[in-house]
């Protein structure tokens, strides 16, 4: 692999040089007032404070946020938008619609988000490949960026704090300069568009700097989960009472799925247009925690209770994906930790599975209800 050096001041000029022919998307900080809102609740204050970045199309390079925590919504929204049209239809039949897909350069993806896309690849790119996903994926260049864990990050536990594939370029931020890892032939092409910014020579000092950064970063994780135990613990705890407790507190809002980089579920709805216009077949994000997720025509619902639906969510993340692909479908981004209003998240569920004390609203809620 080729690794180059890029001075910090040259980053935006480089991005400018390569983004002529494609849309550039990157994390941008949300205006403080819209992020903080007027919520007084300390949990929500923490949530809004911790999730104030989002991927946005860049017009002004000054908007790009380099030192970000996780974005509210992961970059999956740029591969499969929350809602898009699959087909137009008239009485003559169905015509596929790929108009929402465009050439994009995505800058600032953290390692967890790159692994999120690699996880979606497993689902969307195998057995009956999904052309909408593949087309968007092919048209997107992935420019990763190193990051620093906050108290909710646990990507070291999921081994997604490092990336070996899934990016075209990866920028490791070492304060004054970046180490730029070239991960693909297309990434190499980008460098060739503006080679003047890059230095081929790395000094011994640069390498030491990287090693020091990495070991310091690895020591900074404050949330840890033992994922290798999870499949067995899921099986053994299938009837554990905490599922009912979590189910009772769950709002069935679906937020956990919206923010999860590996949640792939979707719903399909036909919209009939009157007045001679063609109809649309819409594909929209769905969540297995929503009430009608497993309901079939006639009203039979295979997962009527919230606890059943939560169990499906966690079976999929912690157990099912492991049995198929040898690793959990959790990438340790911490989005469910900062998003769930009642703190049902991978950490609190893992604690419950381990039999550890659970510090979460849903547990306190169940204790209050029991009183």
């Amino acid at each position: 692999m080729r690794i180059l050096k890029l001075q910090k001041k040259d980053l935006f000029p480089f991005l400018e040089a390569i983004s002529d022919s494609a849309e550039l998307w990157a994390p941008v900080a949300m205006p403080a007032e819209s992020a903080a809102g007027s919520l007084k609740d300390p949990h929500w204050a923490a949530v809004t404070q911790k999730s104030k970045f989002h991927f946005q199309r860049i017009k002004d390079f000054a908007d790009i946020a380099l030192h970000t925590t996780r974005t509210i919504i992961p970059p999956k929204k740029l591969m499969v938008p929350a809602s898009f049209n699959m087909f137009h239809f008239t009485e003559k039949g169905y015509k596929e619609d790929f108009s929402h897909i465009s050439e994009k350069i995505l800058f600032g993806l953290h390692t967890c988000d790159i692994h999120g896309l690699l996880t979606l690849d497993k689902i969307f790119a195998q057995a009956f490949p999904d052309p909408y996903y593949l087309e968007a994926r092919k048209k997107a260049l992935i420019l990763g960026l190193s990051c620093w864990p906050d108290e909710y990050c646990f990507c070291k536990s999921t081994h997604t704090h490092i990336v070996e594939e899934g990016y075209d370029l990866f920028f490791t931020d070492l304060e004054n300069f970046f180490l730029v890892w070239i991960g693909s032939s297309r990434g190499d092409d980008l460098i060739r568009l503006a080679p003047q910014f890059f230095d081929e020579k790395l000094s011994e000092k640069d390498i030491q700097r990287y090693i020091a950064w990495q070991s310091e970063r690895d020591k900074s994780f404050r949330t840890e989960i033992n994922f290798t135990r999870m499949p067995d613990l899921m099986e053994l705890n299938y009837k554990a009472p905490f599922w009912e407790e979590a189910g009772a507190a769950c709002l069935a809002c679906g937020s956990c799925s919206m923010v999860c980089p590996t949640c792939n579920c979707y719903n399909v709805t036909d919209v009939q247009f009157l007045g001679g216009k063609p109809g649309k077949r819409l594909r929209e994000w769905d969540s297995c925690t929503l009430p009608e997720y497993s309901e079939v025509a006639g009203g039979e619902n295979f997962r009527e209770h919230k606890s059943q639906r939560l169990k499906l969510w966690y079976t999929h993340k912690l157990q099912a994906y492991v049995s198929k692909y040898g690793k959990p479908s959790c990438v340790g981004c911490g989005r469910c930790l900062v998003t769930c209003p009642v703190q049902i998240n991978v950490k609190s569920v893992a604690d419950a599975l381990e039999g550890h004390p659970v510090e979460a609203f849903w547990k306190r809620f169940s204790q209050e209800v029991a009183k």
């Binding site: 108009s99 689902i123 399909v268 009939q272 997720y293 157990q319 099912a320």
Partner: protein
């Protein structure tokens, strides 16, 4: 922006192919029979499927839903479906006249392991609308009668008027090369010539079953499985030779939308045909 608005590299597994309703009529008050053919004749003849597989049918403006194929691949060209009026898509489908265009894609799912079943005895246990998916494998075994051992059919419906393909089943009773027992929960006509009671009451009438040789195929309302399986286990039929086909919500049919997930499998890819061992092994199946 992709000016062509077209997928450049892949075939689109979600595209419904135009198909025509060749024939449709009521089987019961709320169940209709549909004979469908791809508009493209070549496609109609090339469409290969296995008994127990399903297809996604699209009705313009109403949406798309999964339906098990009731016809047998041993009779190519036309596809048949038995559909109960339940929701938006089926209501729209019921309004369509013969010669209407619909969208069809598939076949999906694993289907029954007919190759593995060859040379073996087949015991088909049907409850109500379960006749729809099991009709495919029944017709297949009749069309290839010499490739199977004994064929037995037990069919229970609520009332005589709700027995699907009643004439076909009465005709089966006349055949010497298979065994067929019919029952209704209640006879409101006073003219029902066959047995009365739930489908499990038919088991005592079965001729001696050789359990190791037998594949039992079950489909019916959810409430039926527990009782039927109990009878099959009593007969010592191995758990992995008790096959059932299940229903789940599906939006894609190809393992993408997630709705039919159970444990670590997708009903659309790994089902809808499961063994009784799968049911014990994976929770939530029935």
């Amino acid at each position: 922006m992709n000016a062509e608005n077209k997928c450049l590299t892949e075939t689109n597994p979600f595209t419904p192919e135009p198909a025509r309703i060749v024939r449709t009529y009521h089987l019961t008050e709320d169940v209709k029979f549909f004979q469908v053919r791809f508009v493209d004749m070549e496609k109609a003849l090339q469409f290969k499927y296995k008994p127990g597989q399903f297809a996604m049918l699209s009705i313009l403006g109403a949406g798309e839903a999964p339906f098990s194929i009731s016809s047998s691949p041993s009779r190519p060209g036309l596809l048949e479906f038995c559909i109960r009026k339940m929701g938006t898509v089926t209501s729209a489908l019921f309004r369509l006249k013969e010669n209407s265009l619909i969208g069809l894609r598939g076949p999906y799912g694993n289907g029954f392991p007919v190759e593995e079943m060859k040379g073996k005895d087949i015991l088909i246990v049907v409850g109500g609308l379960g006749a729809a998916p099991l009709r495919s494998v029944l017709l297949y075994s009749l069309d290839n009668r010499d490739q199977f051992g004994r064929v037995s059919v037990l069919y229970g419906a609520k009332r005589p008027a709700e027995m699907l393909f009643r004439d076909e089943y009465f005709a089966l009773k006349q055949r010497a090369d298979l065994e067929c027992h019919l029952t209704v929960d209640a006879d409101d006509t006073g003219q029902w010539p066959e047995r009365i009671g739930v489908v499990t009451t038919l088991f005592p009438y079965l001729h001696a079953v050789d359990p190791v040789q037998t594949y039992a195929l079950v489909c019916g309302p959810p409430v039926m499985y527990k009782f039927v399986i109990k009878e099959l286990i009593k007969l010592n039929i191995p758990k992995n030779q008790i096959l059932m086909t299940l229903e789940r919500r599906m939006k894609c049919g190809v393992g993408k939308c997630g709705h039919c997930a159970i444990d670590y499998i997708y009903t659309c890819l790994d089902g809808p045909v499961f063994t009784y061992w799968d049911v014990i092994h994976m929770r939530e199946l029935i």
